[in-house]
Every structure is written in structure tokens, then in C-alpha cells.
């Protein structure tokens, strides 16, 4: 009945839970509410701990039937609950606060006893543990699809609860309903008209969207929605018609696309609806929570069914039709990316900006590490060089003021003396070139080294650059610890077209497009380079240097180019970073940045561009969103690195095995194996 694994797994889980409890995590997260007035983040954490243990232990006895699962699940959760109870007893018996300092301010007992006395609190905790175990056991015995739906929708609902304040005002319920309604109508019409060509379907979608737009616009103008809707209170009926026509068209276009687009659209729909609900209720109360949970559950239930149908529709189309649809899909993705900031709000957009910067760097580092197999641990150096180049060139500095220290120039004279000051557009190519040159200069002495020697030297180089920018000896150029301030933001000046069109790309919204464009360019260049002769040479070097040399590849040249291109991308990232922050400080360029970039390309899947993107979202975006967890973010980051690597050593999206690399392999001469 009781599996021996239950005790082992249970005590592992209990050990982790106790360790976390001793960090005072329950006290710290107790103030943060996920569901207003009811569920705090520490309760969520407790539930995760208890159910996690229950799921772990119950899954070990899966083949023995539901009773065994329930029993072992309860036992597993109880072990964790008992462990936590034990900690509370110890906490009350002896003073732990000298060793476990955080318990001083965040003791465990008040939180885990739920305001009861110690004894009744412990009983309550144990009862809850048993309950959690039973739930876990029961969860495991229902079909796996249902289980996934439940767990995923719970997780997404919790994250909406966490970000409540930041996303609440993104869109209103009427907006969400209108958008989803039009999208759905376009979709359904397209499915009904599957036999027609995709262009006709698209036209139908556009038309229906336009009609709805007119109707809604009329109602809105008549005051039908009050002030509740942002989209519908937009000026002029025409813009509403255009917007809704596009949405309807999108719905019809999605109808026959591949799985990913479908899933993505469904996610967007889900988030729109749940934010709408949240906005309507104005806080994450029970009603909002339940509704959002239902929205997500429905979504996850629909997802496999709809996508299965959609892919079959996609497959059955004739070839040219399919191509048209693929183009549509790409266009949709691009369109969504383009209008995303409108819906995401400033905070989420700024996170996207940061993720984007890391994607640019990741694509660059991927060329050195993923394509060529050069382990670079000091990538931040090139990032810093890009930022500092733009910083010095776009502000009054020794370089731009003809060798005179700006501090020695009277404020009024600065414009006349510092004539060398450039705009961002003039400076960024120089930043890229400087970074590339630095790549070459560093590359020449160290590329003879292999593997880990290269790693430590590049790590050292990263530190050298940071320390030089920091040091007093170079203060006149780099500003020392004070960094470079007041860097102008990039300006798009189209006043010759329209006097109002002068755009300062300073806000999170505007810089988003600059970064997006940077990503498009770097991804494009990296992708194309991958399939050139040079790209093949890189992959050959990665596979086996000696063989590559035997095949006549100029190792030094190929490696240097790989280094230089990667460095150039980092320089571009740095250039954008500098002008985005409008100030540069040496402390932004620590080794942690290098580690972050390296980790994200490896977690994403070495050598794969989609992998870089996913990795950046996970390693950069997630910690930003979880700023709530404050101190635990870095801990979670570290644990995540270990866990992902243990679970998927090849990364989350490994690159497809290219025919090119197969060619390299088959071209490997026999002596290579000997």
C-alpha cells in the first residue's frame, strides 16, 4: 500500500519546503494578495509545496490504482505538512533567529497557523496537507488532459492576479468582447467557407469586421457604451471600421493556419477576456478569479480540438493555398507584434523592450557559441563598448569637443565647441564597428585557445572593459563611476512630411519599434549567414576543429569573423540600450549580463534563433514579471537554470538538424574518426 518511494520523495520535498520556510518566505509573501482579501501569495506557495509533494509521491504508484494514489498522495503531502509543523514547533521552542536571520522579521508561525493558536494551527495545517494530498491523488487519477487544463488555468489565473495592478487598465470588457466577437465571427465564417479560396475568405472576414465596426461605431456614437470602452470611443467611425475590419480579417486568416498561430491567437483571446473581466470588476475578487479561471479552462479545453481541426484543414489545402496561408500567418504575427504595445501597457512593453535587447545579444552570442562553438563568457564587453561608444559620441565629451573636457567649457559655449556631437543614427554604426573591431582585437590572441581557456579569458576581458570604464584613470572619456548621463534619445524627424511628425524614441512604446527592427535585422542576418559558405565553415569548426582545418577552412579567419559578427550584434544592442536608458553606468555591465545571455541561448537551444527568443522571454521576461518575489527572483533563476538543463539538456527549442550539418558530417574524412 505504502510505496517506499513515498517516504523518500516526501522527505526530499519536505527538506526543500523546510529550507524555503527558514528563509522567511511565508512571512515575506504573506502581504501580497493574489485574490483580493482571500488568497495570498504565501498560501499559493504552500499549496504548490503540498500539492507538489502529493503529485510526486502519487505519480510513483500510478499503476496501482486510485486508492494507492490517494493514499500515497496524502502521505506525501502530510510529510511536507509535518515538516513545516516541526519547524514551527522548533521556532517556538528555541530562538532560531540568530542563525536564520530572516525569521526575525518574518516568522513562520503566524502565517502557517492562519491566525490560530499554535496547536490548532498545526492541526489545521495537517488537515490542509491531507486535503492537498487527496486533491493531488485525485488529480492524478483523472485523464491527463483534464489535469493539464486545471493546472495550467490555475497557473495563468494566478499570474493575472500577480500582475493585477499593472495590467488591469490595459483593456476593458466591452473592448475585449467586441474584439473577440469579431475575431470569432470572422473565424467561423471562414470555416464555413472553407471550399473557397483563401483570398475570398479573407475578404469575407474583412467585410464582416467592417460591418460590425460600423454598427458598433454607431452605437458608440450614440453613447451606447458610456465611457467603458476605449476602442469604441476612438475618434471617428472610419478608424473603428478599419480596426474591426482588420480584426475580422485576422479571424478568417487564422482559420486555416498551423497550430502555433492558432494557439497564439487563443492565448491572446484568453488574456483579452480575462483582463476585461479584471477591469470590469476593478480588482481580483472572487468573481473575477472564477470567471478568469473559467475563461482559461475553456481555452485550454478548446485548444487541442481547434488546432487539430485547423492543422487538418491546413494540410488538405492545395499547395499554393498553403503558401498564401503561411504568408498570412507571418503577416499576422508581425501585425500582432506591431500593435502589441497598444494593448500591453507601458510596463509590459518595457519588459518586452528588455527582452528584445537580450534577444539581439543572444542572436549575436549564438553565432559565436551556437554556430562556431566558441565558449564566450565575457560577451557583456561588446555590449558595453556599443553603449559607451554611443554614449561618448552623442554627448559632449573629449571626443566630440575637440579634445577639451566638457567640464572646462562654459555651459553656453558647449554647442559651439562640441560640434562633434552626433545623433543616434550617426553613432550606432560606429558603435557596431567598434564592437566588431574589439572582437577582432580580442580574438587574435585568444582564438588559438580552446574551450575553457577561451571562456576564462573572455570572462576576464569582460571584467577588464567594465573596470576600465569604471576607473578614475579613464574618467575623462568614460565618466568613471558617474557614467555618462543625458544621452539623447533617438529621434525620427519627419517634419518635412508633416510638422507634427517628430518622434523621440524615448518611451517604452517607441523604443519598442527600434528594438523590434533590430531583432528583425539581426535574426535575418544570422539566419542568412548560417546558410552561407561561412556558416558551413562555422559549423564544421564546431563539429571538429582539426577536421575543419583538414577540409581547408581558414580557422583564424572563420573564427574571427564569427567573433566579430557576434560582437557587432552585441554592440548594436548596447547602442540601443545606452540611448534608451539615457545614461550609462559601469555597473550595468557586470558578468551577470554575460551569464544571462549565455544561459538564455543554451536554455533556448544552442544554435536556434526561436530558441534564443524563448530563452530571453523565460530568463529575462519572467524575472521581471516576478519582481514581486523580490529576493527570490535570483534564487528562482538559479534553480531554473539547473532544472531546465536537467530536464532538457538540448534546450527548449533545439535547432532543426540542418542538411548542411549532415553534409559536414558525411564529408568528415575517415581519419577524423581514428
Amino acid at each position: 500500500m505504502i510505496a517506499s518511494s513515498t517516504f523518500r520523495q516526501g522527505s526530499y520535498a519536505a527538506a526543500v519546503a523546510i529550507l524555503l520556510a527558514l528563509t522567511g518566505v511565508f512571512g515575506k509573501l504573506d502581504e501580497r494578495q493574489v485574490v483580493t482579501g482571500a488568497i495570498t501569495l504565501s498560501m499559493v506557495l504552500l499549496a504548490i509545496m503540498l500539492c507538489g509533494a502529493g503529485l510526486m509521491t502519487a505519480s510513483r504508484v500510478k499503476e496501482r490504482g486510485i486508492v494507492a494514489m490517494l493514499f500515497n498522495g496524502i502521505l506525501g503531502s502530510l510529510i511536507v505538512g509535518a515538516g513545516l509543523a516541526l519547524v514551527m514547533l522548533v521556532e517556538n521552542a528555541i530562538d532560531l533567529t540568530f542563525v536564520f536571520a530572516e525569521l526575525k522579521t518574518d516568522p513562520i508561525t503566524p502565517v502557517l497557523t492562519f491566525g490560530q493558536t499554535l496547536s490548532s494551527g498545526i492541526i489545521l495545517l495537517l488537515v490542509l496537507s491531507a486535503l492537498a494530498g487527496a486533491i493531488s491523488g485525485a488529480l492524478l487519477s483523472i485523464p491527463s488532459e483534464a489535469r493539464q487544463i486545471i493546472l495550467l488555468s490555475l497557473a495563468l489565473t494566478a499570474s493575472v492576479g500577480l500582475l493585477e495592478a499593472q495590467i488591469k487598465s490595459i483593456n476593458t470588457l466591452p473592448d475585449a468582447l467586441a474584439v473577440v466577437g469579431v475575431l470569432g465571427t470572422g473565424y467561423l465564417v471562414a470555416i464555413n467557407q472553407m471550399q473557397r479560396s483563401s483570398l475570398v475568405r479573407l475578404g469575407l472576414g474583412l467585410g464582416i469586421g467592417a460591418i460590425v465596426g460600423i454598427v458598433l461605431g454607431l452605437i458608440a456614437n450614440g453613447g451606447g457604451f458610456g465611457t467603458g470602452s476605449r476602442l469604441l470611443s476612438a475618434p471617428g467611425i472610419l478608424s473603428q471600421v478599419i480596426v474591426f475590419a482588420l480584426i475580422g480579417g485576422m479571424g478568417s486568416a487564422v482559420a486555416a493556419t498551423q497550430r502555433n498561430i492558432h494557439n497564439g491567437t487563443l492565448f491572446v483571446v484568453g488574456f483579452l477576456l480575462s483582463i476585461g473581466v479584471l477591469n470590469w470588476q476593478n480588482s481580483m475578487n472572487w468573481i473575477a478569479t472564477l470567471l478568469i479561471l473559467i475563461v482559461f479552462a475553456t481555452l485550454f479545453w478548446l485548444m487541442p480540438r481547434l488546432t487539430a481541426e485547423a492543422s487538418s484543414r491546413f494540410e488538405t489545402q492545395p499547395r499554393p493555398e498553403r503558401q498564401v496561408n503561411q504568408r498570412f500567418s507571418l503577416l499576422i504575427v508581425l501585425l500582432v507584434m506591431l500593435v502589441a504595445p497598444l494593448f500591453l501597457g507601458q510596463y509590459i512593453t518595457s519588459i518586452f523592450d528588455l527582452v528584445g535587447l537580450y534577444i539581439i545579444m543572444g542572436i549575436g552570442l549564438n553565432i559565436a557559441v551556437g554556430y562556431t562553438g566558441l565558449l564566450v563568457l565575457g560577451f557583456v564587453a561588446f555590449f558595453a563598448l556599443g553603449a559607451y561608444t554611443v554614449g561618448t559620441l552623442t554627448t559632449p565629451s573629449l571626443l566630440t569637443c575637440g579634445g577639451i573636457l566638457p567640464a572646462d567649457i562654459a555651459r553656453a559655449d558647449i554647442p559651439t565647441i562640441c560640434t562633434g556631437v552626433m545623433t543616434f543614427w550617426q553613432a550606432w554604426p560606429i558603435a557596431v564597428i567598434v564592437s566588431m573591431l574589439a572582437g577582432v582585437v580580442l580574438g587574435i590572441p585568444v582564438l588559438r585557445l580552446r574551450g575553457d581557456y577561451l571562456a576564462i579569458v573572455t570572462l576576464g576581458f569582460g571584467e577588464i572593459i567594465r573596470l576600465i570604464t569604471l576607473s578614475g584613470d579613464f574618467k575623462p572619456i568614460f565618466g568613471g563611476a558617474q557614467g555618462i548621463g543625458n544621452i539623447p534619445v533617438p529621434v525620427v524627424d519627419l517634419t518635412f512630411l508633416n510638422p507634427a511628425w517628430r518622434f523621440e524614441l524615448g518611451s517604452a512604446f517607441n523604443i519598442y519599434y527600434l528594438i523590434l527592427f533590430g531583432i528583425v535585422i539581426t535574426a535575418f542576418v544570422a539566419y542568412r549567414l548560417g546558410s552561407t559558405r561561412l556558416g558551413r565553415a562555422w559549423r564544421a569548426i564546431r563539429a571538429d576543429e582539426d577536421v575543419a582545418r583538414a577540409m581547408g577552412i581558414n580557422l583564424t579567419r572563420a573564427k574571427l569573423l564569427s567573433f566579430a559578427v557576434g560582437a557587432g550584434f552585441a554592440g548594436l544592442g548596447g547602442a540601443i540600450f545606452g540611448s534608451w536608458l539615457q545614461g550609462i553606468f559601469p555597473n550595468s555591465f557586470t558578468v551577470l549580463v554575460s551569464i544571462n545571455v549565455l544561459a538564455l541561448i543554451i536554455i533556448g537551444g544552442l544554435g536556434s534563433i526561436p530558441g534564443v527568443m524563448l530563452g530571453a522571454v523565460i530568463l529575462v521576461g519572467l524575472p521581471e514579471i516576478l519582481r514581486e518575489l523580490q529576493d527570490y527572483r535570483l534564487l528562482a533563476f538559479g534553480v531554473l537554470l539547473v532544472v531546465v538543463m536537467l530536464a532538457r539538456p538540448e534546450g527548449l527549442i533545439p535547432p532543426p538538424v540542418r542538411r548542411l550539418s549532415e553534409q559536414v558530417d558525411s564529408a568528415t574524412p575517415q581519419q577524423g574518426k581514428a
Partner: protein, 413 residues
């Protein structure tokens, strides 16, 4: 291919234009319903190496302020106040992220923080654009108040003033003419040392050696040998407790520097430094803005409450500044808030204007007068000396005199 890229570029441009046209103006005011809360954001380094304890001080200072004043009363109605603390990691990126986060939360009325000057500088343009106001308890970089940010205010004395007082104290009160400087490579430490160097040389003293250390390094003995060889009478240190304590210890125990006076600023003031340096802390000078005599008791009471509530001594001095900053914001809300039908409306522009023109605010750090550039600190800088048991006693007070001059008076006894 190039054509496709061009298409993408044009699309991007169009979208950017669209977004700019569509992007909503920041709400010019905050509304709090009768059952709602007034949310004050707080940005400080709450994680990371070395500086997190200072950030916690700041957070706790604000918490204590709210404990004393859990509600704001406007038009006879009390609205509860809550704090939204976020981690700014003491970095530019962190400051920027926090600023973006706060401005996309329409319920945040104003912000205590950020903690470090780099974060303040990165956050200010974003807060400016959104019309938010911030009061930093610890951003001391001199140029923050001269950069024409509309959102930036500070309830802490600028390094420019503190450094000048320190220089004058060394020259006039201690009567020393040759010093050496060391900073820790932080914007704070370097900035402070720059001011001290300039002021000290202007007074006629000489800086015989200048060096810097890296945060996290432990062995400063070689550096100290060099400095001692230059025979300064005093070493001025710009930085925080960990490096300061190491420097003092190694100066006194490992190199022949026993006679050299060691002086730092508010970075090494508080409970942490004597804890780290042990007996070697004796005779070390620090400086920080100090309460007027009238407030001394209140400050001591606050520190006692801090210790009682959190079980540890405060690490540095900034919890007092944070306490003041919070109260300034609450005052401002009460002053400019308008209640209609039980709903509180705070106009952001009015709030900002009020904060910038505060006169005679009786804070724990002294009487705060805001000069319209965001400079709101109390005027006096106190210089203290550590005793063997780690306690502090004030030896001199620096206050602004006429004509941008500074008067440093040695305390009796």
C-alpha cells in the same frame, strides 16, 4: 530580400506612428474610491550584494511612517494608505523598470525612492513624462537636482554639500592639511570624493594620494601600503560599511597606519560599520544630515522602535530620510487632494508642484525647505566620531552660511 526588409521597416514606422497617436496620455490625476487605498510606491534595492540592507532600512522607514500615520484625511474622510515596495536593484535598468511599472499602475500616487543615484537618473525621465512625483531618501548625486527633472525630489542632503562640510571640517576643525582619498567605485563614493577633493584643495589643503577599491575585494593591504607611504594625515573614504571596515582594520593592523585618521560619510554611518570593524572603528569620523536638537529625541525614539519591531539595528542612516520622504508625500496628498462624493482625487501636477515648494516641513532630519529644483534636504550636516563601543558622538555641525559659504562649528565637550 532587402525589399522585404524595407517593407518591414515601413510597417514598423507606420505602427510606431499609430502607437504614438493612440498612446493614451497619462491620467493627470489619481482617484481613490471610498473603500479604496492610497498607494505609495517604494523603490529601493531589496536584493543583491551589499546594498540590500540599506534598501530594507528605507522600506522599514516608510513602514514606520505609515504605522504612525495609517491614513490620510482629506475633506474629513480618512483613506487608508498602503505601500507597494519594489526592488530597484540599485541600478539604472532597475530604476527604469520600476518607473515603468509604477507609471502603468494608475493607483500609485507618488513614489518614495529610488535608492541609488543611477536608478534615480534612469527613472526620472519616465516619471516626468507620466507626471508622477518621487521623493528619494538617498539619491545624493549633486547633478540630479540640476538636470531639470520635474519628478525628482530628495529628502537627503546632496553630496555636494556633505562633501564641502567634510572638507571644511578636516581643514578647519581638525586642522589637517594633507589627506588621501579612497572610493569604492560606486557613483556615490566617487562623487563624494570628487567634491571633497575639490573643496579641500580650494581651501588650501593637498590631496597626496587618491585610489579606489572594487566592491567585493578583500585585500587592500597593498593599496594601503602605497597610501601610507604618501604620509597623509587623514584618509577620506567614499563608500559603504563593508569596504570601509576592511580598510580601517587593515590600516590599523597590517600596515603602519595607526596614526592616520579615517573618515567616511553616511555610507559608513549606522550600526553596521562598528559591527564589522570591531574595536578598530574607534576614532573613525562619519557625517550625515542630522536632526535639529528639537528632533533628536524623536529620532532616537524612531530608531528604538525600528530595533524593537524588526529585531535588528538599522544598517545605515536612511530610514530616517525615508520616514521624512513618506510624510512629505502624505502631507502633499492631504494638501492637494480633493474629495467629491466620497472619492478622493489627487491631481498629479498639483502634487508635484506642492512637493517642490514645501517650506518649513518639520521632519526628523530637520526642517526641510524645497528650493524648487527638487532639493529638500535639511540644512545641517553633523560630523560624528565612533567610540570604542560603536556609539557615536557629534563633534561638529556644518550648516549653510551666507553667500553659498559653509559654517562648521565644533561642538563643545
Amino acid at each position: 530580400m532587402v525589399r522585404r526588409l524595407l517593407v518591414v521597416f515601413v510597417l514598423l514606422l507606420i505602427a510606431a506612428l499609430g502607437v504614438t497617436a493612440y498612446a493614451q496620455d497619462a491620467a493627470p490625476s489619481v482617484t481613490v474610491t471610498a473603500d479604496g487605498q492610497v498607494v505609495i510606491g517604494l523603490a529601493a534595492a531589496l536584493s543583491g550584494e551589499g546594498l540590500a540592507p540599506f534598501g530594507e532600512d528605507i522600506q522599514r522607514g516608510a513602514e514606520l511612517a505609515l504605522e504612525d500615520r495609517p491614513t490620510v484625511t482629506v475633506g474629513g474622510i480618512e483613506f487608508p494608505v498602503s505601500l507597494d515596495p519594489q526592488d530597484d536593484q540599485c541600478s539604472a535598468e532597475g530604476g527604469q523598470a520600476i518607473a515603468n511599472r509604477f507609471v502603468s499602475d494608475a493607483s500609485v500616487v507618488a513614489i518614495v525612492g529610488p535608492m541609488c543615484s543611477s536608478a534615480c537618473r534612469a527613472a526620472a525621465p519616465i516619471l516626468d513624462e507620466a507626471g508622477y512625483s518621487s521623493v528619494s531618501p538617498s539619491c545624493t548625486a549633486p547633478d540630479l537636482s540640476t538636470s531639470e527633472f520635474s519628478s525628482f525630489n530628495r529628502a537627503v542632503v546632496s553630496d555636494a554639500f556633505q562633501g564641502r562640510v567634510a572638507a571644511q571640517f578636516i581643514f578647519d576643525v581638525l586642522g589637517l592639511t594633507s589627506i588621501a582619498t579612497i572610493h569604492d567605485g560606486s557613483a556615490y563614493g566617487e562623487g563624494l570624493v570628487n567634491v571633497v577633493t575639490a573643496s579641500f584643495e580650494a581651501l588650501g589643503g593637498s590631496v597626496v594620494a587618491a585610489d579606489a577599491v572594487n566592491v567585493g575585494d578583500t585585500d587592500f593591504r597593498g593599496l594601503l601600503e602605497d597610501i601610507v607611504a604618501a604620509e597623509p594625515e587623514l584618509i577620506y573614504f567614499g563608500g559603504f560599511a563593508a569596504e570601509g571596515a576592511r580598510l580601517v582594520q587593515q590600516l590599523k593592523n597590517d600596515v603602519d597606519g595607526g596614526e592616520i585618521v579615517f573618515m567616511g560619510a553616511d555610507g559608513i554611518k549606522g550600526g553596521e560599520f562598528p559591527g564589522l570593524a570591531g574595536a578598530d572603528a574607534e576614532g573613525v569620523y562619519t557625517s550625515s544630515s542630522i536632526p535639529s536638537d528639537a528632533n533628536k529625541e524623536a529620532v532616537d525614539a524612531l530608531l528604538a522602535r525600528y530595533t524593537e519591531k524588526y529585531g535588528i539595528e538599522p544598517t545605515g542612516p536612511f530610514q530616517v530620510n525615508s520616514y521624512d520622504a513618506t510624510n512629505m508625500i502624505l502631507d502633499a496628498i492631504e494638501a492637494v487632494g480633493v474629495v467629491t462624493d466620497g472619492t478622493l482625487t489627487v491631481d498629479r501636477a498639483a502634487l508635484s508642484e506642492y512637493l517642490r515648494s514645501i517650506e518649513g516641513f518639520e521632519g526628523l532630519t530637520g526642517t526641510l525647505n524645497c528650493d524648487g529644483t527638487g532639493e529638500c534636504s535639511a540644512a545641517d550636516i553633523g560630523i560624528d566620531i565612533y567610540a570604542a563601543d560603536g556609539s557615536l558622538s557629534t563633534v561638529a555641525v556644518g550648516s549653510p552660511g551666507d553667500d553659498n559659504s559653509i559654517v562648521v562649528t565644533a561642538s563643545e565637550g
